[in-house]
Symmetry: C2
Subunit: 269 residues, 2 copies
């Protein structure tokens, strides 16, 4: 039975009931949209606002994704000084030693992170990811209009986000795979004009492309992101899939569209 | 009895035992160092790496701080696109509506946040903080060596962090109090040469000053931060207090030093 083992009985307080409902809904959604997806990207904010019951719901969502053969990208955009970044690495992709034994973290395959504080703030995350065979997606140029406030501002010769991209590429060998690097980049899709230049600056990084659908980004404009190969970009469309009246059809439609774009990019490359 | 009501019996799994131990230790630390402090600043990474039991320990630490009459600064450095920033605002300082009633968030008095994604990513946090009488500390110039990678880089006429500071000051009226604004700034203390200029750029913001002690910052170099009044800056020294053999004495020693610096700054101003 769905929900067996979840520690909160119906009738408990609002946080526990909401946590249970969210876990059930996420499990259901993984079942519906999963066959057309390669990964789930839980937005941590939406879980942690329920406190401990939210964290249980997150763990259950991760377990459902795993059972369905999907990758898990923990979308928390964490970024902190090195000592704290190491703790985030333990929580998201590693584990935490305690006197009573290791506490496993969330077990994500990858996490979104912020490099705002510089390369040393990413180092503990890169180290843990390398150890665990996990990946990271560093915020480079996000999809919100306010990204223009800081990220698009000129540094002496180029916009600031190009400097972030250069930092990502410099760190990419730390998660080098077979051709591509697991040190990826979050590149918003609402301003697709940036994408070709960012692919040039980060030829090895897997791109995570949010903003398609609900935020106005278009899959057909993303070909440049796939210039490093058909596996070199992941398109995310959480809200337009989760909020669709038929999530399975919405996911499958987008999958077909993205596959088409990726194949065309490859044949041009 | 300490620990009464905590849902995890000793003998349970490592995460639960570690969560219980951390909660007890944090309660103890609040009792020892609290009398010399104005606030506790829990680093969320250190709690969330234990999953749900970590979140329980965090809630218990917050409750202990409140009982001791201390403010709570949730140190999570969250920063995301507006829709997700709104969820973080609910989780840290607001509450989340559910069909079964409102779920209260952590109830922090303030939170550290990242403005990397621009002003619109801060707006939902500012709105919630204004509603709840809470404050925010935006990362401006952090205390890690890597801050030089991006934050210290020149934009056309000044280092990039000055641009961040200008954004903070532009948003400060949204949390205006009596003279000072609750939209504060995180300004690391390991490079105190920046502080006078940042006070000039953000005359209304309360400064949160990490990096004293364990990270090498010195309290006596922070006078410029207090130029907007003795309540215009908060010095944090989590590791050098929590890791001291006598946390009460360490906190009291730092309190006396900071008070001296703040008073001297005021008499000069």
């Amino acid at each position: 039975m769905a929900g067996a083992g979840f520690p909160y009985a119906p009738g408990a307080d609002p946080a526990k009931r909401a946590g249970e409902a969210i876990a059930l809904w996420c499990e259901h959604l993984v079942g519906l949209a999963g066959p057309a997806c390669v990964a789930v990207k839980p937005q941590l904010a939406c879980f942690e606002r329920l406190g401990a019951p939210g964290w249980w719901a997150l763990e259950r969502t991760v377990a459902a994704a795993r059972s369905a053969g999907l990758l898990v990208i923990a979308d928390g955009k964490r970024g902190d000084v090195p000592v704290s970044a190491a703790a985030y690495a333990q929580g998201l992709i590693g584990s935490t030693p305690t006197p009573w034994g290791d506490v496993p973290g969330l077990g994500a395959d990858a996490a979104t992170v912020s490099g705002f504080l510089g390369a040393d703030s990413l180092a503990p995350l890169v180290d843990t990811a390398a150890e665990r065979g996990a990946g990271l997606f560093v915020l480079v140029r996000t999809s919100n209009p306010g990204a223009a406030d800081l990220l698009d501002q000129p540094s002496p010769s180029a916009p600031f986000y190009e400097r972030v991209a250069a930092m990502v590429d410099r760190l990419a060998p730390g998660l080098a795979g077979d051709g591509l690097s697991g040190l990826g980049a979050v590149v918003g899709t609402t301003e697709p004009g940036h994408i070709a230049r960012l692919r040039e600056l980060m030829p090895r990084s897997v791109f995570l492309l949010p903003g398609v659908g609900a935020q106005g980004g278009k899959a057909e404009a993303l070909g440049d992101a796939f210039a490093a190969g058909p596996a070199s970009a992941i398109v995310t469309a959480s809200r337009s899939v989760a909020g669709a009246s038929d999530p399975a059809a919405a996911a499958e439609g987008l999958r077909a569209q993205v596959w088409d774009v990726a194949c065309r990019a490859e044949s041009t490359a």
